[in-house]
Symmetry: C2
Subunit: 168 residues, 2 copies
DNA sequence: TAAATCACTTGTGTAATGCAAGTATTATTT
DNA sequence: AAATAATACTTGCATTACACAAGTGATTTA
């Protein structure tokens, strides 16, 4: 295999590689929206609870596409929209997502926050903590996502209207 | 359990919680130094390959202590130094570290970088990817760290001399 | 006891992120 | 058909995180 410097990274450490590649404030949140919530369009990402700014979202989607973690393709019927999907490279992050969720769920600070989630979410989070077979859980999620599905089905938010300018 | 708002977080999502809590450019690198390399002092962290700036390191150590991920205690014999150790809350991140390492190791961009690591490192990275029993690997690491050890033994870097000011 | 080490702080510059407003294109409503 | 609305952005500016260089005081070593 032809090796090629540090590619602008601070070191060759795999922990550092992950931190530098996906350790910003938004990349994993966007991938979560796709993998767990089945969101696929710019507008759907914008409507997430975390309220990403429009310019940041545009930049992160461009970055994730460059990194090969998501793919972008035109919407079949609506020419205004593009569809963002997670690639195999992005799906490879599922084990990390599961451990991140399990860590948060075991963290007292998270536990003592208010939670507004559905039963479906609560059950999944609990499963990441309690399962005796994490590999199976991870495989299940990967299979669902490979088939074009997502972990929590049928719950994308409707859009809010925007105030209109009066005509001249 | 008494719940208590979002504690300044953007949402109640466990993925977002992890991103906001440890998703900066340095927290996980410092914890890696403790858990994997057995580093314990400010100076040892400074000498890591990633070359963290002195002020950033001071800030991150303070933050990690506040979050309860590391503990700080005076050095037994050298009054200039403090010893930083990983707490149980920090040890709980080991499964995430293992999956991060496995993800990077399976990522082509990382694979085609130059690697200067030791055989010990290479074997560990390979094990995260190839093991049939990830739970065992994780338990092994946690046990070592709980006993005050680290994954890669006996390899902390010596310090470099600093140019001296002449006396008046 | 001078020099070196150590764990920082301070000052300043740059990069990432955040907010509000605007724009071009396409879709929908009247 | 024309107006309105929706969608996916961009632009300009403010703020926060991180980066670099140079110090400082306490302690240890030569």
């Amino acid at each position: 295999m032809r090796r090629n410097g540090l590619k602008g990274r601070r070191s060759d450490c795999p922990v550092n590689f992950a931190v530098e590649t996906i350790g910003d404030k938004w990349s994993l949140v966007i991938l979560r929206d796709i993998i767990f919530w089945g969101k696929r369009t710019y507008g759907e990402f914008l409507r997430s609870d975390e309220k990403i700014a429009t310019n940041i979202l545009a930049g992160r989607l461009e970055y994730l596409e460059e990194e090969g973690l998501v793919s972008k393709s035109p919407h079949q019927t609506d020419k205004r929209k593009d569809i963002y999907m997670v690639t195999e490279k992005g799906i490879a992050l599922v084990p990390m997502f599961v451990e991140m969720i399990a860590w948060s769920a075991r963290n007292e600070t998270w536990q003592t926050m208010d939670h507004a989630g559905t039963n479906q979410q609560r059950r999944f989070v609990e499963r990441t903590v309690k399962t005796k077979n994490k590999a199976k859980l991870i495989e299940d999620v990967i299979e669902i996502v490979r088939r074009g599905g997502c972990v929590f089905e049928g719950v994308t938010q409707p859009s809010n209207p925007r105030p209109s300018r009066k005509r001249s």
